[in-house]
């Protein structure tokens, strides 16, 4: 049994222009996309943006077996249509556009790009009022951390470009999940699962795990309640924004288990578990274990070996656990027993160890995830503050506590709120996570060089390789892309050539690398891929 499976992360970033506090956040987000397009274009001298192919988007399909009618859906659920700037937003962005800026002639309509597919296989786009980076598909937790971190560098490069561009107010980006004024935005995970598994088993097996995993992967937050008005510190950024156990919504009545059934893959074979309950992590260890432990729990669920533990009130338990950084808070199980978040995690850990012993496992990342998971739970049980070099919420709490001790600050002091916010600033010179890491006070799993490479290079072992290399090699001819397609426009062919990529584990370097190596042009590439004389089924 293994932590390896197809997975990926999505980060919606907080965005703010301190010198232009009334700036429209959708316009600011579009600046990030266009600024990044400009940095890529300056390196490649070519079109960087591509249209998103919405053909296979099905945001209203519910995994429980039905669909929501469009007229009954919240407008924010209609993610299968391209976002557009309204007249006011266009006027705003147009009004701010100096002649030498980064808005391109190539972008459609308003002249503002709202979406890009990157050479590393990721998607960078405007989601509602935030810039979002969706990582390429990877096959293991460590790669998940790597391409998640690459996204932070992508938006960092974009905001640096904006800062250098005359006429634009500097833009700050925060990898957090709330403005502490009633608003939250997500950090999602996606896991590929077999369609044959009944969805109900996923729900039962996951809820107690999702309620308790914050003790490992919470990012910490100053303030309690959605508005953060109540004083204090809590473990999770997101906990107070969840109101339901199961549901299709992601922006309202947020559920612990999201039922969006949009596989972005062969639909009768796979489902994509869309996880919306999670904090955006800066700590590499937190992200690694968030992905690794979840993958192990999914493996147990698929084998019918998940622990039989059921919470009496999951949503209340989620918030109660988050509100107690001493980790002593107990929550009720349906059988009447009272357990802490650490108890729940230990129940899952023990089951995972037994599961791996029973079925055998690799000695690589799976063994590493199990060892780290166990060691951290022991550390947290002994003294949570000892985990400060590994976990975001503990690192943040330790820093806040040091300020409280030195300056005698109440939890309501705005300096503590600023530390909470600035922990997540993506700029290495301003972000407090990065200041701690610079001093060796945060354990690293990756090198900066690896991350820099992942900004441009796709993972080699999923269809993201095919997507990313098509973007890199044929930027003029690739006119659209999505998770499960790449669309070419070739002068020699009357119709657009849509290459479906519905198998996430095809389109790899092993299968398509030689085709890219041999093709001198997009025409040759498509001929080799689709031509009558040879039709290797490598991408689909």
């Amino acid at each position: 049994m293994s932590v390896n499976r197809v997975m990926g992360t999505e980060t919606e970033y907080g965005i703010h222009a301190p010198t232009d506090p009334l700036a429209n956040s959708t316009v600011l987000s579009s600046q990030i996309i266009n600024a990044y397009a400009a940095t890529v274009r300056s390196g490649m001298g070519n079109l960087a943006g591509t249209r998103w192919d919405y053909t296979d988007e099905e945001p209203l399909h519910d995994a429980r077996g039905w669909s929501v009618a469009r007229e009954n859906a919240d407008p924010s659920q209609l993610t299968d249509m391209p976002p557009v700037l309204d007249a006011e937003q266009i006027a705003l962005s147009g009004g701010r556009t100096p002649s030498n800026d980064f808005y391109s002639e190539e972008s459609a309509g308003s002249g503002v790009l709202m979406n890009m597919v990157l050479s590393n296989g990721a998607r960078l786009y405007v989601d509602h009022a935030h810039p979002e980076y969706s990582s390429p598909e990877v096959t293991n937790p460590r790669a998940g951390v790597l391409w998640d971190k690459a996204g932070d560098v992508v938006v960092l490069q974009a905001l640096k470009k904006i800062a250098r561009t005359p006429g634009f107010a500097p833009v700050n980006i925060y990898k957090n999940n709330t403005d502490n004024k009633a608003v939250s935005y997500g950090a999602h995970e996606n896991y590929l699962m077999p369609r044959s598994l009944p969805f109900g088993q996923i729900v039962t097996g996951l809820i107690p795990f999702f309620v308790s995993r914050q003790v490992i992967c919470g990012s910490g937050r100053v303030g309690l309640g959605m508005t953060g008005r109540h004083r204090g510190f809590q473990i999770s950024q997101r906990a107070d924004f969840f109101e339901a156990e199961v549901g299709l919504e992601t922006t309202i009545r947020r559920p612990i288990i999201n039922t969006r059934d949009e596989p972005h893959a062969v639909a009768d074979k796979y489902r994509r578990l869309h996880v919306i309950i999670g904090d955006a992590n800066l700590s590499e260890v937190s992200t690694y274990l968030r992905l690794g432990t979840t993958a192990l729990v999914l493996s147990m669920i698929e084998h019918g070996e998940a622990p039989h533990v059921q919470l009496s009130e999951p949503v209340q338990a989620l918030q109660a656990i988050s509100h107690d950084p001493t980790l002593q808070q107990k929550v009720a199980l349906k059988d009447g027993a009272m357990v802490t978040g650490l108890d729940l995690q230990e129940i899952y850990l023990e089951a995972a160890v037994a599961h791996c012993r029973r079925h055998g496992t690799d000695q690589g990342q799976t063994a590493d995830v199990l060892a780290r998971w166990g060691a951290l739970l022991s550390t947290l049980r002994r003294d949570p503050m000892e985990a400060a070099t590994q976990l975001d919420w503990v690192a943040k709490l330790k820093l806040l506590q040091a300020y409280r001790d030195r300056d005698g600050l109440e939890w309501s002091d705005s300096r503590l709120g600023l530390i909470d916010l600035q922990y997540a600033d993506v700029r290495p010179e301003k972000g407090l996570y990065y200041r701690l890491a610079q001093r060796g006070k945060m354990e690293r799993l990756l090198t900066d060089d690896e991350i820099a490479e992942a900004v441009h290079e796709p993972p080699s072992d999923t269809r993201a390789y095919f997507r990313g290399k098509c973007i890199e090699r044929f930027p003029k001819e690739v006119v659209g892309a999505s998770w499960d397609s790449v669309i070419f426009d070739l002068p020699s062919r009357r119709r657009l050539q849509r290459i479906p990529t519905r198998e996430p584990l095809r389109g790899t370097r092993e299968l398509t690398g030689p085709l890219f190596d041999r093709a001198a042009s997009a025409e040759e590439f498509i001929s080799a891929l689709l031509g009558p004389e040879s039709a290797p089924d490598v991408a689909t």
């Binding site: 004024k181 992601t250 600023l418 600035q422």
Partner: protein, 68 residues
């Protein structure tokens, strides 16, 4: 009062002598704790210089629209 003043001085002197008396090196945990404290002071000094000006206004100004 002169007597009290003298007593106070004497008391302080005794304390100082007692503090200086042990010639043995400090035990490792105390040294580690002191290093930790100095490290924390140094860290906070650095972060003081990095934090945005006018915390209250900055935090109040960070207003986001809803997301997923």
């Amino acid at each position: 009062m002169a007597t009290q003043d003298r007593k106070n001085v004497e008391g302080r002197t005794q304390e100082e002598e007692y503090d200086e008396a042990p010639e043995t090196p400090e035990p490792a945990p105390a040294a580690a704790a002191q290093a930790e404290t100095e490290g924390t002071d140094d860290l906070l000094d650095e972060i003081d210089g990095v934090l945005e000006q006018n915390a209250e206004e900055f935090v109040r100004g960070f207003v986001q629209k809803g997301g997923q």
